[in-house]
Amino acid sequence: MTETIVEFADREIALDLPRFGACTYRESEVIAFPWGLPGFATLHRFIALTLEGQEKFVWLQSLDDPAIALPTADPWQIFDDYSPQLPPYAVSSLDLARPEDFVTLCVVVVTAGAEEMTMNLLAPVVINLVTRTGRQVTLETGGYSVRTPIPRKAPPAAGAQAS
């Protein structure tokens, strides 16, 4: 075989998503979830999307199943005193060395009619931005709930406008 090594080109890839319509991403923006996500164990590649006017939310959009997208948000936008202690398995499996290298997002559930909004503070999604690898981590301490009600008048995101 005389296969030549194809130079990795970080080209734009176009998608037409059932939820969001047309969008583009680059290969370097893909986040790997080697362990899948609870409930979606076979989905391993995601991109993080935001929608115009809804910048507080980050949608984890599956590339393996375009129908699946999970809304998440920065927990500190709402719960200022949130203090997750990541268990050792999370730190080692995600290779979390420097705090500035990873980001924490929590899954949000909005019931039909937006009557109730909850956030999963028990199992944050932690993403290593350097290796672009993520995992939903179950905390062992802190007594957090899977469905923590989000107060109606949530204060606006302190860091949302920061670039």
Binding site: R19, Y25, T50, W59, L86, V91, V107, N120, S163
Partner: protein, 86 residues
């Protein structure tokens, strides 16, 4: 499913490095001791089931946003990060 009978203080090995010991038996409650590498998460399955349900609800129940203008999020500069104990 593999079913094994164990008496008090007897153990089961899973692979080379996970050991589960029957520590106590009291009526309908069995206490298990689990020795596993710190790289393996160990949780009661109800917790995991609940996270699964919540993820499915998040993907399913959450209303369709108004389509347009989806772009890749800038995850850097998101502000505060959790405290970890590496």
């Amino acid at each position: 499913m593999l079913v094994l009978s164990r008496k008090l203080n007897q153990a089961i090995m899973i692979g080379d490095d996970v050991r589960i010991v029957v520590v106590a038996v009291d009526r309908d409650t069995v206490k298990l001791g689990i020795e596993a590498p710190r790289t393996i998460p160990v949780h009661r399955s109800e917790v995991y089931d609940e996270i699964q349900r919540t993820n499915r609800a998040a993907a399913g129940e959450t209303e369709q946003p108004a389509g347009e203008g989806a772009k890749v999020a800038d995850l850097g500069g998101k502000g505060r990060k959790p405290t970890s104990k590496p």
